[in-house]
Every structure is written in structure tokens, then in C-alpha cells.
């Protein structure tokens, strides 16, 4: 089953995303900010990255840009989990190479339905 990297500075959101994915049979690896996410990204192979935008140390947009520089993340779907529905934020994510975005408030059913657009 697909292996997903979940990056969020909020423990509860991260736990929930991870829990939802696991209950649908995905495997997850968690990171608490962009820096940790980038480090963990290089320790395994991932089929999907779900990352928060607003995080300390390295935000989600920067993480996305960094990941795209890695050869094994060139085509990996990267979804930004954000409450910011503004077009500007989506454009910035896109420019950094994000695949798409998931808008909070976090809804487990919606998450599972939506990620089917990018992973098996």
C-alpha cells in the first residue's frame, strides 16, 4: 500500500491525517515541520506527501520546492493541507511544484476521496 509522508506542526492535525490514512490502509511517516519532513523524505520512498503550509523552520511551500529538487520526488504527488483558500496561496504552491491542495477544516472522508486523484 502507498506510503505517505505527513508534515504538519500541529500534533492533533498530523495525528488525525495519519490516523485517517492508516485506517484506509495507507502507511504513514510523520514530520513536525518542513525541515524534519525534508530529512525524513530522504530516508524512504513515498507515494504521496501531504504537508501543511504554515509551519515553523521551513514552511510547506519551501518544503515542496526542496522536494522537487530531489530526483525521487520529481513526480511524487505533493498536496498542501491548508485553510488558506486564497488563489494567491494556491498559485504559490503550484509555482513551487505542489500537485494540489486540500482545504481545511480537515474532513477524513473528503481527504480519502480527494487523494484518490493522485494515488492508488
Amino acid at each position: 500500500m502507498a506510503n505517505v509522508l505527513v508534515v504538519d506542526d500541529s500534533n492533533s492535525i498530523r495525528d488525525m491525517v495519519s490516523f485517517t490514512l492508516k485506517s484506509a490502509g495507507y502507511q504513514t511517516v510523520e514530520a513536525k515541520d518542513g525541515l524534519e519532513g525534508l530529512a525524513k523524505a530522504q530516508t524512504g520512498s513515498f507515494d504521496l506527501v501531504i504537508s501543511d503550509v504554515n509551519m515553523p523552520n521551513m514552511d510547506g511551500i519551501a518544503l515542496c520546492g526542496e522536494l522537487r529538487k530531489l530526483s525521487n520526488f520529481k513526480f511524487t504527488p505533493i498536496l498542501m493541507l491548508t485553510t488558506e483558500s486564497s488563489t494567491d496561496m494556491k498559485m504559490r504552491g503550484k509555482a513551487a511544484g505542489a500537485t494540489g491542495w486540500l482545504v481545511k477544516p480537515f474532513n477524513p472522508e473528503k481527504l480519502l476521496a480527494t487523494i484518490k486523484r493522485v494515488v492508488r
Binding site: D9, S10, N11, S12, I13, D15, M16, F19, T20, S23, A24, N54, M55, P56, R68, K74, F75, T76, P77, I78, T83, S85, S86, K94, G97, A98, T99, G100, W101, K104, P105, F106, N107, P108, E109, L112, A113, K116, R117, V118, V119, R120
Partner: protein
């Protein structure tokens, strides 16, 4: 499938309260142009909003949204950071806390405060003439509603022309998955167009050369289809058209059919109406059941978030220790299987190792309950800030030793007494700026909080550089209240201790004895119930210092084992001043039964423990007896015991839970040999001795003076 996320509510709550604390402390330190701090405040609000939305705490979400909008403007530099806005944000933090607590306890909240702050926030936001995010969100909502209305079970056929850009895959999108998602909406026919495909040699495997024509028969509407393509819409050419709109077959239908269709539609609409209705009884139920829940929630005590977040290293260390314990255990049991006397050395080694393991394990487990005292100190910057505003004084708060660790339970219970002491220091300790200047001090007063470890205890000092406590006025007040006799001579510390007398707390605040008497008896009682003590030092014109001495934990006590008759008692190390052998020269018999011992420049009453507890012992002679000098309530007494045994840590077992409260005893413990030993309650024993002496005096009608 449905995923139940309610198990994550407690961790969300904990995180939110942490976030609020961070917001508060950051706001207090916020200076214009400090982007990093604004960002972190914004992030905290943002996370709370996100989580609250997930759990359906709508009031929290709505309110936090306003806060977030204001912060967003500050973050983007659209709004300057001014003090007025910071004050509004600070009271917003209070409101968020109220709302989250209300959501947690399912209780009502202070609506006046929240609506007042909401109004202030909205006004502030309106004053900056930027477009509000609220507006755009409202419009998207109405769009959604409109599309909801369109939704019905009628099957429509859409033609979708999809030409992705060549590098679509570089953002991780794969058309195949998009088609899968479309196929879930209805019946999908896919036709690929390969005309753009270059010759094999020219193909770049990272590029996408295909385009597609899709036919989708679905009950979903155009919005839903667009949503599937949401992430790629700006990287492709996308045309979605309704096939039926082109064909226009409807006019050829017979009237009968049309009627049937209308009926069908009516049915469908009814169904839609039904499905739409179904959720509403639910919501009604929840709203009507709310008052009930409220009373229920009130009946039970407030739900405390009682989890501890423990560093992984601490847990790893524990696991490591348990591993060692298991090794020791298996070694010992192997040894026991076939024990021979020549193995005695290995047995002793094994037991030694077991002792070491147990000790380390105990220490590590205790350390898990330890938290840095910053958890208790965190609220003070805000408190002092608010109080300084209210009193119009200039005050600087200095916090030291915030990393000093303390047991979680002790921390929870010391919070209120500390608030009281700090509040008093602001209210009555620090003088107004003009008075300070007149006395040659700087206009800005300083209050410092300091925490450090001393022996097995933690000491918390609350000091101010204010006017100090006027000893004469305190004494006069105490005389007036009938707490002391006018002709008593008291030391400074005894006078300051009068502040903690229950009678003193009723003193009207108008008097200028620094007004320190308000509620101090409660502070002292709380500290004592934690097994701690409080002392006051003060110098006129220079300031005061309240020193709180607390045990590090409530579960384990550092004790001195003493022997009286056949019994072993434990004296808490925290209350022991010194132990000594009585020197006959220094004994001073005051009256019949009262014996004082001259300890340097103090007279300390001697309490023979065997008398208090009615024990039989051979050691009844005061000459050459062993005295353990203990202190409680500023009063020193010498406990006369038979012998001093070991010092050790003991696990406290409550007498109240297992038996009943006994005067002079604060608890019990089980010693290594399995016997039960009582832990002495020093303040209780002093009380006992006093009433014992008074009874004696009355019965023998001797006129004596009791210290």
C-alpha cells in the same frame, strides 16, 4: 467509510491551550516589525481554527477567523502593529480560551465578553479598508448552495475535452488518477488522442503528449467535474460541455412522457427534500439536548486535561531501564533454580544490581511527572501587564529559573497561590511612579520570580523592590484584631507571619500596611497542604520577598526515620532545621511541664514525642536526649526522640484513604521490612502540644507562660 476522530479532541484541546499561551506571551513581547513573532502568533491561531473546524466547534472557528484575519493583515504588512490592536488581540486570546473551554465542558460562556471583543475586532478590521476574506467566503458558500440545489438524480452526459500541458507530470499529477476519480462520478468513456505523439526517438519520457476526449454520464453537476480537475486547471486546456444541451431531444417527447417526467421530478425533489431534512432532526436534537448536558457537565467537576507530554528520550530511558531489570530478574531466577552456597557472591551482586535498577527506575518514573516551572510562570507576564495597566504603575517582570522542574500535581496547585502573591506585589508592593521617584528609585518597579532547587525541595521566590512591609503597622493591626497581645515581643519574621493569620485577612484594604493581609491565610493553607512552607522577608523602602518552599513531588518524601519506643516515625526532611544532642546547661524549665531549650538566641520548646503519642520508652530523661529541631508556621520546636535512624525516600500512603485522618500524622509508609511507619505532621504536632500544655495548665491551675 466513516472515520471517528473524536479521540483526537483531547490532544487538540491541549494543543490549543498551548497555542493560546504562546499567542499571549508573544503578544506581550511583540514589537513592530517583528515578523517572526507575528508569524508564530498567526500560526497558532491558524491551527486552532483548523482543528476547531474539524471537530465542529463552530463558535471557536468563527471567532478565531476574525482574529486570524487581523493577524494576517499584520503579517502581510497591511496593518501596523499598534498597542491598541495588541490589547484587542490579548482579550481575543482570553475569549478563545473561554470558547474552547466552553466547547470542552459543553458549558455556556461569558457571551458579553465575547460579543464585546467580537465587536472590537470587527470594528478594527473594518477600519482598515481592505476586502474582508469573510465576504469572499460567503460568496463561495452561496455558490455551493446553488450547486447543491441543482443536484438531482437526473443523469446527464458531459463531453470533456482535456489537453494537459506537456509537463503536467512534473507537479505529480497523473491523468490516469483523474480519470479514476471521474469514473467514480458515473459512467466514463475515455478516448485518447495520440496525434501529438512524436516519433519514438524524440519522446521525452518525462513529458506528456496525449490529450483526451471523455464522455461522462453522471448525476453529478459541472462543479463536481471541475473539482476533479481543480489542481490541473491552469496546466491544461479544459472544456466541459453538456451533451444533452446540444442534442435537445426533449421537444419530441409525448405529453404522457412529459407528465411522467414531471412526476418523477417531483418524487426526486421530495427525496432530495427528505435527505436534506434528515440531518436537521439531528441538529435539533443536539441543540435541545444541550441544556441537559450543561447541567450534567456542571454536576461533574470540570474536566481537566490530565495527560502529560513526555519527551521521547525519557521514555526510551525507561524502556532501557526496564530491559535491564528484566535481565537482572532472569539472572536471579536462574540462580534461584539451583542455589548453592558457593553462589552467594553472585546472589549479592544480583541483589545489588536489582537495587540499582529499582532506584534508577524510580527516579526516571518520577522525572516523567516533572515539568519545568515555566508552565506555572507563563501566565505572569500577562497578569503583570494587565495589572500594571489597571493600576497605572510601571512594572517590569523578571523571571529566572523557569527551567526548574517540579511535579505536575504540585505545579497545578501552586498556580493560584503564586497568582495571589504576584497580584499583591503589584497592588501593594510596588509604589506609584511618583512616590518611587520621590524616594530616589527608578520610576519602573521590578517584580521578580525565581525558582531553584535546594536540597530535595524547590524554592520559589516572589520579590519586589517596592515599599516593603511596615512592621509596626502590621503589629498594631494584629493587636487591634486581637491576634497578639500588645506587650508581646516578636521577631521580624514572627511579625510578618501575622500576615498569614486568618483574622488578618479581613483587614480592610484601605490601610496602607501594604495591604498584604488579603487572603494570605488561604495562600498559606494551600502551600501547607502541599507540604510546603512560606516565609517573608522585607525591608522598609527596599521591598519584600516571599519565599515558598515546596517538596518536588507529593508522591515521595525525603524523610528522616526516628525511633520512639518500639515505633518508627518519619519526619519530613523539609521541616528539619537541625538535630542535636541536648546540652544540660541550655535547658530552661519554664513551668511544670514546659521545657525550653536555648538554641543560640532562640528558646525552643521541647516536645517529647513519647508523651504526645502515649508511648512507653526507656528514654524519658531530657538530659542528653536527642532533639530534632523542626520548624512549622515560623515556630521552631525540638522533638525529643529515642534515636535517629536512616534518611530515606518513602512513598506516601494516605491515611485518610486507607484509615482515617489522625491528628499529628500526615500519612504512612511501608518500610523495607514490611512494617508500617507514620509520617509526622509537624504543624499538627505543634497544635497538639499547645492544647496539651493548655490542658495541663488548666488542670494544675498553675500560672505559667507558654511561648
Amino acid at each position: 467509510m466513516s472515520v471517528d476522530l473524536s479521540q483526537f479532541i483531547p490532544s487538540f484541546l491541549e494543543e490549543s491551550f498551548e497555542g493560546l499561551e504562546l499567542m499571549e506571551s508573544s503578544l506581550l513581547n511583540l514589537e513592530a516589525g517583528d515578523h517572526e513573532t507575528i508569524h508564530s502568533i498567526f500560526r497558532a491561531a491558524h491551527s486552532i481554527k483548523g482543528g476547531a473546524g474539524t471537530f465542529g466547534f463552530d463558535v471557536v472557528t468563527e471567532f478565531t477567523h476574525l482574529v486570524e484575519t487581523l493577524l494576517d493583515e499584520m503579517r502581510d504588512g497591511r496593518r501596523e502593529v499598534v498597542q491598541k490592536d495588541i490589547e484587542i488581540l490579548l482579550s481575543s486570546v482570553d475569549c478563545m480560551r473561554l470558547l474552547i473551554e466552553a466547547a470542552r465542558d459543553k458549558e455556556s460562556y461569558d457571551e458579553d465578553k465575547v460579543s464585546k471583543t467580537t465587536k472590537e475586532l470587527s470594528q478594527t478590521l473594518a477600519s482598515n479598508e481592505t476586502t474582508n476574506v469573510t465576504n469572499s467566503e460567503q460568496t463561495t458558500q452561496t455558490v455551493n448552495n446553488a450547486s447543491d440545489n441543482q443536484e438531482n438524480d437526473e443523469l446527464l452526459t458531459y463531453l470533456i475535452h482535456f489537453v494537459p500541458e506537456h509537463d503536467l507530470a512534473k507537479t505529480g499529477n497523473d491523468p490516469l488518477f483523474l480519470f479514476n476519480a471521474l469514473a467514480e462520478l458515473g459512467e466514463l468513456t475515455i478516448k485518447a488522442n495520440t496525434s501529438e505523439l512524436p516519433a519514438l526517438n524524440d519522446i521525452d519520457p518525462q513529458e506528456l503528449y496525449l490529450s483526451w476526449d471523455l464522455t461522462l454520464k453522471t448525476s453529478a453537476n459541472k462543479e463536481d467535474i471541475h473539482e476533479v480537475f481543480e489542481w490541473v486547471e491552469d496546466e491544461c486546456l479544459l472544456e466541459i460541455t453538456l451533451a444533452d444541451a446540444i442534442n435537445q431531444e426533449a421537444p419530441e417527447q409525448t405529453q404522457n412522457l412529459a407528465v411522467e417526467q414531471v412526476q418523477e421530478q417531483v418524487q426526486v425533489q421530495e427525496q432530495v427534500a427528505e435527505t436534506k431534512d434528515t440531518p436537521s432532526p439531528d441538529t435539533e436534537q443536539t441543540t435541545t439536548s444541550k441544556p441537559k448536558e450543561k447541567t450534567k457537565a456542571k454536576a461533574k467537576a470540570k474536566v481537566e486535561v490530565s495527560s502529560i507530554r513526555v519527551g521521547v528520550d525519557k521514555v526510551d530511558h525507561l524502556i532501557n531501564l526496564v530491559g535491564e531489570l528484566v535481565i537482572t530478574q532472569s539472572m536471579l531466577s536462574e540462580l534461584g533454580n539451583d542455589f548453592q552456597m558457593d553462589n552467594i557472591e553472585r546472589l549479592t551482586n544480583g541483589l545489588e544490581q536489582l537495587l540499582q535498577n529499582t532506584k534508577e527506575l524510580q527516579e526516571s518514573v518520577m522525572r516523567i511527572r516533572m515539568l519545568p516551572i515555566s508552565f506555572a510562570f507563563n501566565r505572569f507576564p500577562r497578569l503583570v501587564h494587565d495589572l500594571a495597566n489597571k493600576t497605572g504603575k510601571e512594572i517590569e517582570l523578571v523571571i529566572k529559573g523557569e527551567q526548574t522542574e517540579l511535579d505536575k500535581t504540585v505545579m497545578e496547585q501552586i498556580g493560584d497561590p503564586l497568582v495571589h502573591l504576584v497580584r499583591n506585589a503589584v497592588d501593594h508592593g510596588i509604589e506609584p511612579a511618583d512616590v518611587r521617584l520621590a524616594n530616589g528609585k527608578s520610576a519602573k518597579g521590578t517584580i521578580s520570580l525565581d525558582a531553584y532547587h535546594q536540597g530535595g525541595n524547590i524554592v520559589i521566590e516572589i520579590s519586589d523592590d517596592g515599599g516593603g512591609i511596615n512592621r509596626e503597622k502590621v503589629f498594631a493591626k494584629a493587636v487591634e484584631k486581637g491576634i497578639v497581645e500588645p506587650n508581646n515581643t516578636l521577631t521580624d519574621s514572627q511579625v510578618f507571619d501575622l500576615l498569614f493569620e486568618p483574622g488578618f485577612s479581613t483587614a480592610d484594604q484601605v490601610t496602607d500596611i501594604s495591604g498584604r493581609g488579603v487572603g494570605m491565610d488561604v495562600v498559606k493553607r494551600n502551600i501547607q497542604s502541599l507540604g510546603g512552607r512560606i516565609q517573608v522577608e522585607s525591608a522598609i523602602g527596599k521591598g519584600s520577598c516571599f519565599k515558598v518552599n515546596l517538596p518536588l513531588t507529593l508522591a515521595i518524601l525525603d524523610g528522616q526515620l526516628v525511633k520512639v519506643g518500639s515505633e518508627t516515625y518519619i519526619i519530613p526532611l523539609i521541616s528539619i532545621v537541625e538535630s542535636l544532642q541536648v546540652d544540660r546547661e541550655l535547658i530552661n524549665k519554664v513551668s511544670g511541664d514546659m521545657t525550653l531549650y536555648r538554641l543560640r538566641d532562640e528558646n525552643v520548646p521541647i516536645l517529647p514525642v513519647y508523651q504526645l503519642f502515649g508511648l512507653a520508652t526507656d528514654f524519658t530523661e531530657i538530659d542528653n536526649a536527642l532533639l530534632v529541631v523542626v520548624e512549622a508556621d515560623g515556630q521552631k520546636v525540638g522533638l525529643m526522640v529515642d534515636d535517629l535512624l536512616a534518611q530515606q525516600q518513602v512513598v506516601i500512603k494516605s491515611l485518610k484513604d486507607n484509615y482515617q485522618q489522625v491528628i499529628g500524622i500526615s500519612g504512612a509508609t511501608i518500610l523495607g521490612d514490611g512494617s508500617v511507619a507514620m509520617i509526622l505532621d509537624i504543624p499538627g504536632m505543634i497544635q497538639m502540644a499547645l492544647s496539651y500544655a493548655q490542658k495541663k495548665q488548666q488542670s494544675s491551675s498553675e500560672v505559667g507562660e507558654f511561648c
